[in-house]
């Protein structure tokens, strides 16, 4: 049964990811991304990474996808346009993809050990993640937080109306 679910999720992820890339309608692309994210969350859940799975849904489906959709819907020119999905920059693209793949494979190869059993099911990961975040990975965590804060400040600065305009 677990295998069946895995293959189901895999098909969902790959099909919707393909739809995202190849669809000529940008709205369809955005919405198929949703199913892709959900499928990945499902895979995380199967790997006992429950916190990660829920975070995936919360952040990607609830936050990022919604932002993308907002962006698409509020820009009326984009939606009317049918996208060109022809191949541009074939050789550079292929090169980058090949290098990325090679890098990933190398890291996987070096890291070595694949867990052959499913990890101890349903052990809570929340506490471990919490502890590690504020101990070993405190610096990256804070850096990311500051980065996000800067992004927020920058966004509000751009979105803000000109002060002189308001006064006049």
């Amino acid at each position: 049964m677990e295998v069946a679910i895995f293959w189901l999720l895999a098909v969902i992820i790959i099909a919707s990811a393909a739809a995202t890339v190849f669809s000529k309608n940008i709205i369809y692309s955005a919405f198929s991304l949703l199913f892709s994210f959900l499928g990945v969350a499902g895979i995380y859940a199967m790997l006992s990474a429950d916190f990660l799975a829920v975070t995936q849904i919360m952040v990607y489906v609830g936050g990022i996808l919604t932002l993308i959709l907002f962006g698409v819907m509020l820009t009326n020119r984009i939606t009317m346009m049918s996208l060109k999905t022809d191949v541009f920059n074939f050789i550079p693209g292929l090169t980058i993809a090949a290098v990325m793949l090679a890098g990933l494979l190398y890291v996987i190869w070096v890291t070595g050990t694949w867990a052959s059993d499913s990890p101890a099911a349903w052990d809570t990961t929340v506490e471990t993640i919490g502890t590690l975040t504020i101990t070993r990975f405190l610096l990256p965590f804070e850096v990311v937080a500051i980065l996000l804060l800067i992004a927020v400040v920058g966004a509000s600065f751009i979105a803000r109306k000109d002060k002189q305009k308001i006064q006049s």
């Binding site: 429950d50 916190f51 975070t55 919360m58 489906v61 609830g62 919604t66 509020l74 349903w122 809570t124």
Partner: protein, 348 residues
């Protein structure tokens, strides 16, 4: 594998209590079908209750003709909806128009997977239960956007965009309010949170002023998350016809309706589980499994009633007032509560 399923569907105790043999297929089936049946019956009664409450508040009588005191009015309405022609507008995006109600309902139904009905009766007692419940509602957001865009209608799109902006904003104070409680309970599991409240009158609610304020904030934010008055801008009848479900008719409309009322119950259930002791008795003892279900539903129904009561009291917010309330009032206060409660936990 089978063990895993049974363990996940922590419903086992209830059925064992009822005398169903171990390992029978009844367990998963009941675990998945019960919420659906409950949702449908609840929606039927809630629509009726909504009409009655609104009528009584406005000194009217409400439905009186179908059945005694009009009890079968919603049943008749549903029968009508089933018979209706399923219209897809010519200009609509057929695929999105079809998928949207399914997605919205999926979000609602999926929330019930981690809903703590009773001590031994939780679809899946996840370690991240409350986090899951808060996160899965984003499926509803995506569904609403899909409905608004797919209908190809300006009212629908306005409704969907408003609804999304509202839900995404109010998720923050809701999350912070829940977090205030979690600082105390120290667990994200629904049953863990509820068990922590054993021995407390009315759960965490009256344990500290911060928790009480957090509860009020969650209540307000949850109203906004299910698009209820005074936060019903997305489906404001007087300006947007019907918001995102303007173009829907028949069964698809019924699905939106079912999801809406289901969400009302779920946010009430979360409020009850986190702040009011869930399936515990109000005086904080652990009831039997079946009585736990009763307590849980009773407490949740009180907050469903509260939502109706508020709906027929307050008028609708303006968009800027909505955002002002969220970003300038609820979020700062929620942060203050979180920090205050954390201080209480550390120093007391």
């Amino acid at each position: 594998m089978h063990d895993l399923v049974l363990k996940t569907l922590g419903i086992g105790d209830l059925l064992a209590w009822l005398g169903v043999p171990d390992g029978s297929l009844v367990y998963p089936v009941v675990a998945s079908v019960f919420p659906l049946v409950f949702l449908i019956i609840f929606a039927l009664l809630a629509v009726y209750a909504e009409r009655k409450v609104s009528a009584l508040i406005q000194n009217r009588l409400g439905p009186m003709e179908t059945g005694p005191w009009g009890l079968f009015q919603t049943t008749a309405d549903i029968l009508k909806l089933i018979q209706k022609e399923d219209i897809t507008p010519k200009a609509a995006d057929k695929i999105l128009f079809f998928v949207a109600p399914v997605l919205v309902f999926t979000g609602t139904y999926a929330s019930l997977a981690a809903f703590p009905w009773s001590s031994g009766f939780v679809g899946a007692d996840l370690n991240v239960g409350i986090f899951y419940l808060l996160a899965i509602s984003s499926l509803v957001v995506a569904g609403l956007l899909m409905a608004g865009w797919g209908s190809n209608n300006k009212w629908s799109l306005y409704g969907a965009v408003r609804s999304t902006a509202q839900i995404v904003s109010y998720e923050i104070p809701a999350g912070l309010a829940v977090l205030t409680a979690i600082v105390t309970t120290g667990t994200l599991s629904m049953n863990g949170i509820i068990r922590h409240q054993e021995g407390m009158w009315f759960g965490l609610l009256f344990q500290s002023p911060f928790l009480f304020v957090a509860f009020i904030i969650y209540l307000i934010a949850s109203l906004a998350e299910v698009n209820r008055t005074p936060f019903d801008l997305p489906e404001a009848e007087s300006e947007l016809v019907g918001g995102y479900h303007t173009e829907y008719s028949g069964m698809k409309f019924a699905m939106f309706f079912l999801a809406e009322y289901g969400n009302m119950f779920i946010v009430s259930g979360i409020a009850v589980a986190v702040f009011m002791g869930g399936w515990l008795t109000p005086w904080g003892t652990e009831p039997s499994v079946l009585m736990g279900v009763v307590w849980m539903i009773l407490k949740s129904l009180f907050f469903v009633f509260f939502q109706m009561w508020l709906r027929w009291t307050l008028p609708r917010f303006r968009v800027d007032q909505l955002m002002y309330l969220c970003w300038k009032v609820l979020i700062p206060i929620a942060f203050a509560c979180l920090i205050g409660q954390a201080a209480v936990e550390v120093y007391l």
